[in-house]
């Protein structure tokens, strides 16, 4: 009876426009080497899921995200550097796919913003201070 209920529960789940192939082997399995897994995880948290509403591939249940995770783990296990994998993805999808914006001609303002805000703030704050009288 339990098995029947289990089967019913599985069937009753809605049918999505999804393939029914299982996830790729490394999509939901960690690499055996913890250092490599940590590097892979760090990279996955900063790669944007292409079919989601603003999530990284590490946090998404979408199939394509799973395949991207599998690809990342596979390449890290093969010895590739995380930055090379990121660059490969950016070459195919543009900067949109990485949550770590590059530093280039169009994004220098973004990276300079913190320094600029501080500088402007200091200038404004200067007017609040009086010279120290001994």
């Amino acid at each position: 009876m339990r098995h029947l209920l289990l089967a019913l529960a599985l069937i009753a789940a809605p049918v999505w426009a999804d393939s029914d192939l299982p996830p790729a082997p490394l999509a939901d399995t960690q690499l055996p080497d913890p250092k490599q897994e940590a590097r892979a995880q760090a990279l996955m948290e900063t790669i944007r899921c292409l079919v989601c509403q603003g999530q990284s591939i590490a946090d998404s249940n979408a199939e394509l995200a799973g395949d991207m995770r599998a690809m990342v783990r596979q390449r890290i296990a093969a010895g590739e550097k995380p930055e090379a994998i990121r660059a490969w993805l950016v070459q195919r999808y543009g900067s949109w796919v990485t949550y770590d914006p590059p530093l280039d001609r169009v994004t220098w303002l973004l990276w300079a913003a913190p320094v600029m805000f501080l500088a402007v703030g200091l200038l404004i704050a200067r007017s609040s201070f009086q010279r120290r009288r001994t």
Binding site: G54, P101, L118, A125
Partner: protein, 639 residues
């Protein structure tokens, strides 16, 4: 009938709001007779909107399907709490809640504000009315919550299952009380700019309102973070998502405002900063409302997208924020220059605090909107996420923490570096020890987390330092408030650093009967059983967790399927120990019969939200302390 009554109440409220505005304008310009009606009208207006909101709640609880909004968001099989909370789990309902709170805030000012000079108070109520009118118009013309649906369908569409959680009952109302509570500060600033009355009395009057809104905002953000943490199932508590940033920006501005207003109250300085921050805080609330509802930024948290409504809101933004900033530019010069400070003093510390908070606010704003601006300018699509925000705002936040530690130990007016160093030495020493200990224990720790932990320890000691050598029973309540709030910040920071550095994650495909080790726990996968709820069915895993020789714990994560609307969610099972949380998630079953399990051991992660709660408690103590003191010693000018 009830829906029509609700709509009628809204129209009446809008009409009264217009009356409030006209009367306030005329009264400020000299028509003394009208001054008397402004307050009662503000209260009546609030009562009407509260009535409209209550009627909408009634419609949702009774599942009146002849109202379109109820049809789209409600379902008769939902438990009572979620029928109740579904009222604001959608755009129109939450907008009505916004307007109701706006009205209530105005009424509260009308009823309870006694310290403010009469003309400024009238101008403030006028400011409140100006803001109210725009949002009434938005509600009545573009977001009518009471629209009917004929013929009434047999059943509603139901609420998004991710929202069917106690978090929905708590998070939006507290957040809105904070967001919209800041409108009072905004109106105060408008009032002060109109009557050019900015000074210590004004600041003392404004302070409790800012504190009140800030407390709610802190609670709302903390609750939202915890809700997302246990609901979304990926173990994260902050993603620098545009909607999250939209709630953080008003908080940053409000925190800066809170500190700035104290300087204005005690030393009559930072007049322009205080006014500017008051305008910015509520402006950020309004920008946040716009971002969430217009659809221009992609987010998991975004409401239903409607560019037409977005356009309406944008026009309101231009009117209100543009108007307020234009008023600021025109009038701030006439606000007499405030006092100046010594570079080493409590005031200087507060100026630094303002500066850093504003810079962080700027960074969050730029980071959130840069992709949009870049696309507008060049067509390039960009994503800005945690790597940017952590790298840009993180160091500034750590500097802020250092100043937070030294600040309360600085004397007002003028201090000297050597005595200050002596006062700060114990905290600095503790921070240094913590730095060395942590670095030795975890050599590969990230530099930001390492500094975070060290500074958290230092801040914790420094925040209780003001109590040192004081008669504790005669220490004013607001000092306790400051101590607790800063301590809460230290606790929260420690939690954040621990979570980002010491979390252990295990992803396994397990067969029933297998055991997995995660952190100090060994978790045995005991069974998977089907189970049912009011409006869902699920597969529930039974996990038996044991730590060393302690008792066996049972955790039951579920993979749930709701049928209205059809959605799959995952319900995490979390065990909270004194030193961390065991967080478990059940995934899908692979064809070979093994089940996907995700297990985390997160040491000290609860400190993040415990710290947030402490901050809110500290704020509450400060608020009570100030109100009580004002009642007992109305003539007192100091602090």
């Amino acid at each position: 009938m009830i829906a029509e009554a609700g709509l009628a109440a809204l129209w009446l409220g809008a009409a009264l709001c217009l009356l409030q505005l006209v009367a306030a304008i005329l009264a400020v310009r000299g028509e003394a007779q009208l001054a008397g009606i402004v307050r009662p009208v503000a209260v009546a207006q609030a009562a009407l909107t509260a009535l409209a909101f209550s009627l909408l709640i009634w419609l949702f609880v009774k599942v009146d399907l002849s109202v379109a909004l109820v049809f789209e968001n409600d379902h008769s099989e939902k438990p009572f709490l979620y029928r109740f909370a579904a009222t604001w789990g959608n755009h129109e309902g939450s907008m009505l809640m916004w307007v109701a709170i706006l009205g209530a805030a105005g009424a509260a000012v009308a009823l309870f504000e006694r310290k403010l000079e009469e003309r400024t108070l009238l101008a403030t109520l006028g400011g409140q009315a100006v803001v109210g009118l725009g949002f009434y118009a938005f509600l009545l013309f573009a977001s009518n919550p009471f629209a009917r649906l004929f013929p009434a369908p047999p059943e509603g569409r139901g609420l998004n299952p991710l929202l069917q959680d106690p978090g929905l009952a708590f998070h939006p109302p507290t957040l809105y009380l904070g967001y919209v509570g800041l409108s009072v500060a905004f109106s105060f600033a408008i009032g002060a700019l109109v009557t050019r009355d900015v000074g210590p009395a004004f600041a003392r009057a404004m302070r409790p309102w800012v504190l009140g809104a800030w407390i709610f905002l802190t609670l709302g953000i903390t609750a939202g973070s915890y809700w997302a943490y246990y609901e979304l199932g990926w173990g994260g508590w902050w993603f620098w998502d545009p909607v999250e940033n939209a709630s953080l920006m008003p908080w940053l501005a409000a925190t800066a405002l809170l500190h700035s207003v104290t300087v204005l109250a005690t030393r009559d300085g930072l007049r322009a900063w205080t006014l500017m921050l008051a305008v910015i805080a509520f402006s950020m609330s309004m920008v946040g409302t716009f971002l969430v509802r217009s659809g221009i930024l992609t987010s998991v948290h975004a409401f239903a997208v409607d560019p037409r409504r977005g356009m309406f809101l944008l026009v309101l933004l231009f009117l209100y924020i543009g108007g307020a900033l234009a008023l600021f530019g025109a009038r701030v010069g006439a606000v007499r220059e405030g006092a100046r400070f010594d570079p080493v003093s409590r005031e200087a510390g507060l100026v630094a605090n303002n500066l850093l908070l504003s810079a962080i606010l700027g960074i969050v704003l730029v980071g959130t909107l840069y992709p949009l601006i870049l696309e507008a300018a060049t067509g390039t699509k960009l994503s800005v996420g945690p790597p940017y925000f952590n790298a840009a705002a993180g160091p500034l936040a750590l500097i802020l923490v250092t100043i937070m530690a030294a600040g309360p130990l600085l004397r007002w007016r003028r201090d000297n570096l050597v005595p200050l160093a002596k006062r700060v030495a114990p905290a600095a020493g503790l921070a240094l020890i913590m730095l060395i200990v942590v670095k030795l224990a975890a050599p590969s720790i990230h530099i930001l987390s390492l500094l975070g932990l060290a500074l958290a320890a230092g801040l914790a000691l420094a925040s209780v330092a003001p109590l040192w050598q004081r008669n504790l029973r005669r220490t004013p309540l607001f000092i306790w408030g400051m101590v607790l709030a800063h301590l809460g910040m230290a606790v929260s920071l420690a939690g954040m650093a621990c979570d980002s550095s010491f979390t252990v994650e295990k992803l396994v495909a397990a067969r029933v009967g297998e055991t997995v080790t995660v952190g100090p726990y060994s978790v045995t996968f005991d069974a998977v059983d089907p189970t049912f709820g009011a409006n869902w069915q699920a597969l529930q895993a039974t996990l038996l967790a044991r730590r060393g020789d302690s008792d066996m714990l049972t955790l039951s994560p579920q993979a749930r399927t709701y049928w209205a609307p059809p959605t799959e969610t995952s319900e995490t099972a979390i065990h909270t120990a004194l030193d961390g949380q065991l967080y478990t998630v059940l995934g899908k079953q692979a064809p070979d019969g093994r089940w996907q399990l995700r297990l985390w051991w997160k040491p000290f992660v609860t400190l993040i939200w415990a710290g947030g709660a402490l901050i809110a408690i500290g704020g509450t103590l400060a608020l009570i302390g100030r109100l009580w003191r004002a009642r007992r010693k109305p003539q007192e000018v100091w602090l």
